[in-house]
Symmetry: C2
Subunit: 716 residues, 2 copies
């Protein structure tokens, strides 16, 4: 198409130039961010397979209806099920990490079965119970597909408050599962509307008229051969959601549904044949499943932020608008405007920081899981393991909250940075935002998780004060007096990882101390522990926010420091990004750096100036850096984010393909024609037509005459 | 439904209690926020009409496809067209303000014709030209509907860079409109895909081979009788967007399309019969149309923020989760948690602040428009009017940017505050966000507008330094030395409107001064004016941000001070909200208050504590305040935001109605059954089946034997 050549040539040449002399080895930069070359190669293989597989065709995805997306998702599940049984767990998890980026609804729909339902069985079944469900086919989704029945219409996060009941019927040796009122309807249950045959139902255990708290029960929902609902089961579709339409969320109401006693998960609490309830001797270590979800979400935050930025920054490199110099031949690439760098470059550094943090969190998670699995009854490592679990739990809570928030913001800022084209569905941001948004809500509302992290920081602070040595995550609290008194020694300190790190330590220490002091003051004032925590929730929140920024900076810093300087530019450029992230976050939270006096007012100006400099510096290698994120055009599914820069032609073609012109006008005869050729109904002057005013006048005159006559008669 | 009664009773009683003893007269509070009782009554009339009109039925809207929404929108346009000719301009504008809240796509689709196309004619036509289009039917959309052809695929904000050409053909007395390449395709043109018969096309005027810049031309697109495209016109549908699917955006390519010379709008530049181009003597005063759009968007920000908060705060009042006190009979209303108040109450104060600011901006706009219309040639008021226009222009640029950003954030924070139910489309946030998001991009990208506001502040600063007296908006620059030296005298000052106002003046003055100083330093360093502005874009941005927060606070403050204390509680509670807004924004931008030393570090803590107090204080009257926003359940279209609090029953019913259960499973036979009953293809051991290993072994032995034989022969 000759008329498109001008722009194709220009944009493709422009981006090629950006790649001509990368200051680092792109492949090696990519390997570091993927953890290992093996993992990078795996991801490339998965991407290639998906790009070639017709079931993963995605160019038409933005125009599909909810119902069409659900079918497409089911087709993709069929394809992926092959790998569940043929691939190692680790490989399949890596594959799913990619799927989450490619098709978040698909990831959720499989995750409901493999993560939530199977996870509930794993953590709640006795060995015999688990064998039973294995034989039934739970691993390969054979004749069964699970869903996870926790939340109810009127209850979300407060599991103890759920109202569904599971009443033991001693006579028949069964539990009766029942939804007592509308608010107790199971709600938001992913997979319930169209996919699931079984549900792990959270319900109040009732035995001999006594409540024993919320336990888990496997309840069959449908006959797998016909998919007819079983007696007493009422399921409906929850319908349209903000995003992730590929997952069929539903509601479930149980009307006295009977299940065998053995369908209660009895690893912990047990109910015997004659109705004795045996409580577990130890508190359950049920954090594990939560941790896995959060770890996955931090990785997804990094990956999704990189995806959004790949699109917006490649677009900024090839989009030209206005001339900075009137004599220039071409308009300026918008990425060359300082303000556009300010919009995107800090987010770019942040996405890389999140990536390294996700790798570290995965390591921490693996270590913690292994330690838990290795525990024996009466193990001397029990306390140490519980401590480790608590720390990982608190760290992951803060990371889940702040990384998902920051990534949601990154998506929308990327969209805005693409101007009008960002608002077209075909460039991907609309779906990306709508799909990602739920990360801030599920598996723990972000605000609640941030408060949990803040609560744990208060307790760490108290531990440190009592002389306990804290591990690296909160290590800055070990030597708190000195850390609190810290000050930025000079502008030069802001140019070093050590210097920036010291700043975060001091400011986080101040924030944690303030939260702890406020909390303790409330306790002294006679408030209960819970009340005191509520009272100081805002300062707890701030403490968690600052601690988490510092924590992310430190993970990034350590990743850089572990690298050798190999002459390939990788370590040096990651170090630039680490400092950039640390300083930019310092600017974002400058009030607390000034408040604690770590920064003087003049130093705050220096931080701002440095951040602007880092924006310009990072812009220079932004395109090679983005290439190292290794996201295929198929995964991006966004013509303005194409690798080769031929954005306008591809965007135009995608729009045209998905909106064929030859269909004719959908409603001209029906709606447009009657509108533009309508007769405006003239309001007739009914008063005049009826002649009402003359008539009124006549009546008036008649009356007056009659009255005058009457009067004359009277006078007579 | 007896099982729903428990929750219905509880939630309805809960919200009734919130309304039992309002501390102010709700009706009077409502009147103040609507500008006058007349305007409130008008709005109530419009809402009632819409709620009763089947064309405005909205319960099914969240499940409609793009194509269905477009038809629904066209039906609504037919209904509204009646009012265009029967209502006063002012009434119709008020009606449209409501429509923007009820159906943003509809507002856009009508706005394209009445705001953009008609606006282009009004500002660009000679009197004769305008009469011609009036007679053609432009006012009543009779046999014509206009669209606005400005943006191109490769050009958005830079109008001067557009590539479409309009070449004068002296021989035929016509212009030839042409799209020279793909990037010049008119793109995003609202109404082009399905509605428009005519387009106001921005194109490069070319006469006798010479370019004369971008001018506007009316180009007929379709035969109104058949809606067939006219020769040389190629139009396609732009398809799926993030939001506002009701408006049919399209692309247009012109291939040597001929129009009469008189279809160029010639109020300013003129082309004579023999190809003489007459440039206008004065610069055009074309800001007017821009101002109208921005004024509408600030009002829409206030209204939309109030809509989002009505839903999230009513929900927070009736939603209960966890017990703060273990002995309490009921769980706690989530609005009673301090952190939940922190999430929503500042945004509530902000939405009220935006409302009063929008009223003031409307007043300013009316005043400016009247002054422009009153101008005569050689008018001595010309300079004063241009000054007024410039000021209104800069103010509205900053307000449009920061109000739309803050409202977009308010929508998503409201969604998140509703947990999982916020993610359901039926509660309205998903569409509200997707529809509203484009406000940050169109009619001037927010970042660019903020920079324009910052540029104007630098120029005001320079004016003030040269002794010019500035008007109220930037009045704090008049006495700058004193203002810069300001400090918060005591915590008590933070409790007064004057005290808070002084803080904003000082901090804004510092920010503006920094921007101006940086700019001038760049100029001294030899940079061109444009370069210097680019160099200091970040500080310009910060200056605009702080100035605008202070400006909004001041508008709110003045609105409060204009009120009399009437014993109805209105003034007193608005004053609480004004202080709350001023202090919360101070906390949000605390770094700059510390940097300028207006706040001491200890005072910053006091500000934070006060904001937490104001959150609790505002929570007490949050529900009555929200009632004063006067938004009907029909406009809200969100069951969890219902006035009567009966949220669970209505939400359940809406979900059920829109997702009928009796349709049967959509794809069980096709996709689910083959999946859960699939045979896993066992990888056959082809090696064994083919017996390849034995065969290889035999071949090997044969070879060895042969070799041995050969060797033996050799040895012989």
């Amino acid at each position: 198409m000759s008329t498109s050549k001008k722009w194709s040539d220009l944009t493709m040449q422009t981006i090629a130039k950006e790649r001509a002399t990368p200051p680092f080895d792109i492949r090696k930069m990519s390997i570091e961010q993927h953890g290992s070359e093996k993992d990078l190669i795996k991801k490339e293989k998965f991407m290639l397979e998906a790009a070639r597989d017709p079931v993963f065709y995605s160019s038409d995805i933005y125009d599909l209806t909810k119902d069409q997306i659900r079918e497409r998702t089911m087709q993709r599940i069929q394809k992926l099920a092959h790998y569940v049984t043929s691939e190692s767990v680790d490989d399949f998890q890596k594959r799913m990490e990619l799927m989450s980026l490619l098709d978040p609804g698909l990831w959720t729909r499989l995750g409901v079965h493999y993560g939530l339902f199977l996870g509930a069985l794993r953590s709640g079944c006795t060995p015999n119970q688990f064998s039973y469900w294995m034989e039934k086919g739970v691993i390969g989704c054979k004749e069964m597909f699970g869903c996870f029945g926790m939340t109810e219409l009127a209850h979300g996060s407060n599991v103890a408050g759920l109202e569904t009941t599971a009443t033991f019927d001693e006579q028949t040796d069964e539990f009766v599962i029942h939804t007592p009122n509308l608010g107790a309807t199971k709600w938001w249950i992913g997979g319930a509307a169209h996919t699931a045959t079984h549900c792990s139902v959270f319900a109040q255990l009732v035995v001999k008229g006594k409540k024993h708290g919320t336990k888990t029960f496997v309840v069959p929902l449908r006959d797998p051969k016909t998919f007819n609902l079983l007696p007493g089961i009422n399921i409906g579709d929850i319908g349209k959601k903000m995003g992730r339409d590929g997952i069929d969320n539903g509601y479930i109401q149980f009307t006295n549904v009977r299940i065998p006693r053995a369908f209660m998960l009895m690893k912990h609490t047990q109910v015997t044949r004659d109705g004795e309830v045996r409580e577990p001797p130890l508190q359950q270590l049920t954090y594990g499943a939560l941790l896995q979800g959060r770890t996955a979400m931090v990785a997804d935050s990094a990956n999704t932020a990189k995806k959004a930025l790949t699109i917006s920054i490649r677009y900024a490199a090839v989009r030209r608008q206005f001339k900075s110099d009137a004599k220039a031949e071409l308009e300026t690439q918008i990425l060359d405007y300082p303000i556009h760098q300010r919009r995107l470059m800090p987010l770019l550094a942040q996405s890389v920081a999140f990536g390294f943090t996700a790798l570290e969190l995965q390591r921490l998670y693996d270590e913690t899981s292994n330690a838990i699995e290795a525990l024996e009854p009466g193990d001397p490592n029990l306390n140490a393991t519980i401590e480790m679990l608590k720390e990982t739990h608190a760290t992951s809570a803060g990371l889940k909250a702040f990384c998902t928030w920051a990534t949601l913001e990154t998506i929308d800022k990327s969209r805005q940075a693409c101007g009008g084209h960002g608002y077209s569905s075909y460039n991907g941001f609309a779906n990306m935002y709508a799909d990602f948004a739920v990360h801030c809500t599920w598996e723990g509302d972000n605000t609640i998780l941030a408060l949990q992290a803040g609560r744990s920081l208060i307790s760490s602070y108290q531990d440190a004060r009592e002389g306990k040595k804290l591990s690296s995550g909160t290590g800055y609290l070990n030597n708190i007096e000195k850390v609190l008194a810290g000050k930025c020694p000079s502008d030069a300190a802001l140019d070093t990882l050590d210097g920036i790190d010291a700043g975060w330590a001091t400011v986080a220490a101040h924030a944690v101390k303030k939260a702890a002091d406020d909390y303790e003051a409330r306790i002294k004032a006679g408030r209960s522990k819970e009340q005191a925590f509520e009272d100081c929730s805002q300062v707890r929140f701030v403490a968690a926010s600052i601690h988490t920024s510092g924590y992310i900076f430190r993970q990034f810093r350590h990743a850089v420091e572990r690298l050798e300087s190999r002459g390939d530019g990788v370590k040096e450029h990651l170090e630039i990004l680490a400092k950039f992230y640390g300083l930019w976050q310092m600017e974002e939270k400058a009030a607390f750096f000034l408040r604690s006096a770590w920064l003087s007012p003049a130093q705050m100006d220096a931080v701002q100036a440095k951040v602007t400099e880092y924006c310009a510096k990072t812009r220079e290698f932004a395109i090679p850096l983005i290439d190292s994120f290794a996201l295929s055009d198929h995964v991006l599914n966004s013509p303005i984010g194409r690798y080769d820069g031929d954005i306008y032609r591809e965007y135009f073609n995608m729009v045209r393909k998905n909106n064929p012109q030859l269909k004719g006008h959908p409603y001209f005869e029906k709606l447009i024609k009657p509108f533009i050729f309508r007769e405006t109904p003239e309001m007739e002057d009914y008063d005049e037509a009826i002649g009402i005013d003359d008539e009124i006048e006549e009546i008036k005159q008649d009356r007056e005459e009659a009255e005058a006559e009457a009067k004359a008669n009277e006078d007579k």
